[in-house]
């Protein structure tokens, strides 16, 4: 048992073949997968069932990835959102991170990178909860190194991503 079987994953991409092959690969790793081929399908799926993480594409017909992101975050605050796109630009990456994306990945990243991101994104709501509880008990300012791993991890990931883009 890897623990993956408890993770409920919503995969959203208008490229149906990509969606299906990603689902096949992630199912081999025991994740619970629901597929949505557009923004509306994703909203409907999230209304019917709870998800831990949503992996969304940005460029989609109708409701695009950014709009979908805002709708999902508004209605499902604890949902971890990972952006997986073929259209990775610095601008869209910054926009997604500002909106609260857990991470921003480019197609076709290594499946292990995606799996690690999914697992980390699942831990985020628990960390936030313990962070809130900690603040209530001991309200004091923290240095960058002392900040919760979720925030620091996000910054490190962002810097790593930016370095990769620079080297390209």
């Amino acid at each position: 048992m890897s623990g993956n079987e408890k993770i409920r994953l919503l995969l959203v991409d208008d490229e149906v073949k990509f969606l299906q092959i990603m689902a096949s690969r992630l199912r081999l790793k025991s994740f619970q997968i629901t597929l949505a081929a557009n923004g509306q399908e994703a909203i409907d799926a999230a209304a019917k069932k709870s998800f831990d993480v949503a992996v969304i594409d940005l460029q989609m017909p109708g409701i695009d990835g950014i709009q979908l992101f805002k709708i999902l975050k508004e209605n499902h605050k604890d949902l971890g959102v990972i952006v997986l796109t073929g259209n990775a630009t610095m601008g869209t990456a910054i926009e997604c991170m500002k909106l609260g994306a857990f991470t921003f990945l480019e197609k076709s990243c290594d499946i292990e990178v995606l799996i690690t991101a999914i697992k980390d994104a699942c831990k985020l709501p628990l960390e936030k909860k313990s962070e809130t509880e900690g603040k209530e008990k001991q309200p004091q300012e923290k240095s960058l190194e002392q900040k919760p791993p979720s925030s620091l991890g996000k910054i490190k990931k962002w810097v790593k991503w930016a370095k990769t883009k620079k080297s390209e």
Partner: protein
């Protein structure tokens, strides 16, 4: 105004190039993930898990299909890149329509399009392939937006007389008449010496294309 600002042409070229690169990236992503899936299956087989032949067959079929899709995309990219080779030339309308439908098909909001040829005698028209393609692209994008992703758009080619050919665009949804044609389309049509004709129904628009236009010939000299 009888000239198209250079930036507009570059913007069009850039938009098409970006949509092609996005399409190619999608194709490569599918191939890459399918290869990854085959690798995952191989690893599981090494651990003694049963390997389903049907899965292998599906993967190999998918890779072949995506490679074919990639070749088709590259062919379209090549044809589009060569549309700037000659400022004016005889253009096959069916060919350029197919190309523009293919290129706009990469846009996420593209609707389904079909071409209907009502006349057997459609001769090539003497025009600027790049500007004409740009105009068709703009019209298709406009129609996609009005028809919606699940709507239908049809392009009908007919010959009302011996001197011209008519290109009619029809949408499954009513068109916002006040927005069509927009400034960009009007400028392109003007430079190409073409005129939009209002269709009696509110779901279509026609473009009359003279086989030999004096305006386009004059344009050739000043291009």
């Amino acid at each position: 105004m009888n000239k198209i600002p250079q930036t507009e042409g570059l913007q069009f070229f850039g938009k098409v190039s970006a949509s092609i690169s996005h399409e190619l990236k999608n194709i490569l992503s599918i191939i890459s993930e399918t290869a990854g899936f085959l690798n995952d299956l191989t690893e599981l087989a090494k651990q003694g898990k049963e390997l389903k032949l049907s899965l292998i067959e599906n993967c190999s079929q998918s890779i072949v299909e995506e490679i074919q899709r990639g070749f088709a995309t590259i062919k379209q990219m090549n044809r589009f890149a060569h549309s700037v080779d000659s400022p004016m030339k005889d253009v096959d309308l069916v060919e350029i329509l197919e190309l523009m439908i293919g290129l706009t098909g990469f846009l996420s909001y593209a609707s389904r399009v079909r071409i209907e040829i009502q006349s057997k005698d459609i001769k090539p028209v003497f025009t600027s392939p790049f500007l004409f393609g740009h105009l068709i692209y703009q019209i298709l994008c406009f129609f996609y937006e009005s028809a919606g992703h699940d709507g239908n758009v049809s392009v009908v080619l007919s010959t009302p007389d011996d001197t011209s050919v008519r290109l009619t665009f029809k949408s499954s949804a009513p068109l916002p008449r006040d927005k069509f044609p927009n400034e960009k389309m009007e400028r392109l049509a003007q430079v190409l010496g073409l005129e939009f004709e209002q269709s009696p129904s509110d779901t279509g628009i026609s473009l009359g294309i003279p086989y030999i236009s004096d305006t386009t010939r004059k344009l050739l000299q000043g291009f």
